[in-house]
C-alpha cells in the first residue's frame, strides 16, 4: 500500500509541476478572494483584523474545492478512470497518495495565504504553534474528505455543482475549529485555549483518513 501511495503521490505532484494549475490559477484566485473580502469589510483595518482568522479559513476552503476538483479531474480524462482501476494499484494507496499530493499543494497555498493575511489585513502572529498545527491537521482533514468526494462525484455530469454542495457541509467543523485556533494564534479571540480545537482538527483528520482507506476500494468500483 505504501509503495502505491508514493507512486500515486509522485504522479499527481509531477503532473502539477508540469501543468502548474495550482500555481497559475488557484493561488491567484485565493489571493483575489482575500482582496474581495477586504472590499467587503471596509477600508478600516479594525474589522479586517478581527475577521482575519475566519477569512483565512473560508478562503482556504474555496481554494480547496478548486484543488479537489483539479485532483479528481486528473482521473476523469478519457479512459483514465478505467486505467486507474485496471492498473492493479491498491485503492487505499491511491487514496493516500492523492490525499498526500493534495495536502502538499494546499500547504503551499496556505503559506502564501498566511503571508497575504499578514500583509493585507495587518494581522499579527502572536504564537506560531497553534497556527502551524491547525493548518497541518486541518489540511489533512480537508484533503481526505475532498479526495473521497472527488472520486465519488467524478464521472457524473453534475460534478462541478455537486462537489461543493457535498463537500462544504462536511468540512464545516474544520472551518470552525481552525478559525478558533487561529484566533488564539493571532490574538483576536476572546480567550480560551486552542488545544480543544487542535484536538478536534486532529481527530477529524484521523477519522477521515481512516475512512478513506477503508472505503476507497468500493468507491472506485462505482462506475
Amino acid at each position: 500500500m505504501w509503495r502505491d501511495t508514493l507512486a500515486v503521490a509522485g504522479k499527481d505532484l509531477r503532473i502539477e509541476m508540469r501543468s502548474r494549475v495550482l500555481l497559475n490559477q488557484v493561488v491567484p484566485f485565493a489571493l483575489l478572494v482575500l482582496v474581495l473580502f477586504a472590499f467587503a469589510l471596509g477600508p478600516r483595518s479594525g474589522p479586517m483584523v478581527q475577521a482575519s482568522a475566519g477569512l483565512f479559513w473560508v478562503t482556504l476552503l474555496f481554494a480547496a474545492v478548486l484543488g479537489v476538483q483539479r485532483s479528481s479531474a486528473l482521473e476523469t480524462g478519457e479512459g483514465t478512470r478505467d486505467g486507474l482501476r485496471m492498473s492493479g494499484l491498491d485503492p487505499a494507496g491511491v487514496f493516500l497518495g492523492k490525499t498526500a499530493a493534495l495536502c502538499v499543494q494546499l500547504v503551499f497555498l496556505e503559506v502564501l495565504l498566511t503571508a497575504g493575511v499578514v500583509l493585507l489585513y495587518g494581522a499579527h502572529i502572536r504564537s506560531i504553534g497553534p497556527l502551524v498545527v491547525a493548518c497541518l491537521a486541518g489540511t489533512a482533514g480537508l484533503a481526505a474528505v475532498g479526495t473521497i468526494y472527488g472520486m465519488l462525484s467524478s464521472g457524473l455530469r453534475v460534478r462541478e455543482t455537486l462537489l461543493p454542495f457535498l463537500l462544504l457541509p462536511v468540512v464545516a467543523p474544520v472551518v470552525l475549529a481552525g478559525t478558533r485556533a487561529w484566533q488564539v494564534a493571532l490574538g483576536t479571540g476572546v480567550g480560551g485555549g486552542a488545544v480543544p480545537y487542535l484536538e478536534l482538527l486532529a481527530i477529524f483528520a484521523a477519522v477521515y483518513l481512516a475512512l478513506g482507506v477503508v472505503i476507497y476500494g468500493p468507491l472506485l468500483e462505482a462506475s
Binding site: I15, R18, L84, R85, L89
Partner: protein, 267 residues
C-alpha cells in the same frame, strides 16, 4: 496453442447480462476462451463487444449470469485479477501531462511488473529518444495508441483484452502489434480482441465469435471464418438477396435454421 492446457480457462462467460444505465449492453452472452488462445469478437456497432471486454476486465458489473476470468469469479476477485489482466480501450488510459516513459514506468510499477520490459517495448514501438520525453497529450492519436500498446505489453498480463486495437494504427504499427500478440501468446497469454477490421485480426485468431444484440451468436474456427474477411465474397452472397426483403427473409432463414443449422443457404 503450443502449451499443454492448464487447469483453468482464461475466460468463461455464461448467460452474462450487464447493464449500462438501464440498457442491457450484454443480454445473455456465452463465451469461453482457453489459455493461450486468441479469440476475435466480430459484430456490428452496438453488438456489445466493448461491454463483453469490460465485463471480463471487471469494469462492468454483471446483473445476471456468471463470469470467471483466469479461474476466479470476476465479481468477487476483481481487484486481485487486475494485475494479470491488461485492457486496451478506445481511449488510451494515459496521463496527458506525463511523458511517454513516465506513463510507462507508472503503470508497469503499479502492476507490479518488472521495469526491464519498459525499455524493450518502448524501443520496439519506436518510442525512444525525444519522443519518449514528450508529454503524451502532445502526441498524435496513433502515437498514443502505440504508447498504450507498449505499456500493455510491458506489463506482461496473462489476459489481453483489446478493443479495436488496429484503429488509428499505420501498417508498420499493425505488424508490430501482430508481432507483440504472437509473442505474448507464445508465452502463454490469452487474447480477446474486438475488431471491425476482420481482414487484419482474423489472421491472428484461433477462433472468431460473432456478436449481435448483446449476445454471442456463433463461434467459428478462424479458418472457417476466412470467408468473412473477404468483403467481395460477402457482398456477392448478399447481392443475390432482394435487399428490401432482407429482414423477412432473415427471420425465415434463421427460424428455420434454428433447428437444423446446416441447411439454409440463401444464395
Amino acid at each position: 496453442m503450443t502449451y499443454a492446457v492448464p487447469m483453468d480457462r482464461a475466460v468463461l462467460l455464461r448467460d452474462a447480462v450487464a447493464l449500462a444505465g438501464r440498457f442491457p449492453a450484454l443480454a445473455g452472452a456465452d463465451l469461453t476462451v482457453e489459455r493461450g488462445e486468441v479469440v476475435v469478437l466480430a459484430g456490428p456497432n452496438g453488438a456489445g463487444k466493448t461491454s463483453l471486454l469490460r465485463v471480463c476486465a471487471g469494469l462492468l458489473a454483471l446483473t445476471r449470469g456468471e463470469a470467471v476470468v483466469l479461474g476466479r469469479d470476476v465479481r468477487a476477485a476483481a481487484s486481485s485479477l487486475r494485475k494479470q489482466v491488461g485492457m486496451l480501450g478506445h481511449a488510451a488510459a494515459l496521463y496527458d501531462d506525463l511523458t511517454v516513459s513516465e506513463n510507462a514506468r507508472f503503470f508497469v510499477r503499479a502492476a507490479g511488473a518488472s521495469e526491464d520490459w519498459v525499455g524493450r517495448e518502448l524501443e520496439r514501438f519506436g518510442l525512444v529518444g525525444r519522443l519518449a520525453r514528450t508529454p503524451v497529450g502532445r502526441l498524435s492519436e496513433g502515437q498514443r495508441r502505440r504508447v498504450a500498446i507498449a505499456v500493455l505489453a510491458a506489463r506482461r498480463p496473462a489476459l489481453w483484452l483489446l478493443d479495436e486495437p488496429h484503429a488509428g494504427l499505420d501498417a508498420d504499427a499493425r505488424s508490430l502489434l501482430a508481432e507483440t500478440v504472437r509473442e505474448a501468446v507464445a508465452g502463454g497469454a490469452s487474447v480477446l480482441l474486438a475488431s471491425h477490421e476482420l481482414g487484419v485480426s482474423v489472421p491472428l485468431a484461433d477462433r472468431v465469435a460473432q456478436m449481435a444484440g448483446g449476445r454471442v451468436l456463433d463461434v467459428l474456427p478462424a479458418s472457417r471464418a476466412a470467408t468473412l474477411t473477404d468483403p467481395a465474397a460477402v457482398d456477392r452472397q448478399g447481392s443475390q438477396i432482394d435487399r428490401e426483403k432482407v429482414p423477412e427473409v432473415a427471420l425465415e432463414v434463421l427460424s428455420s435454421s434454428a433447428a437444423e443449422r446446416g441447411g439454409a443457404h440463401v444464395a
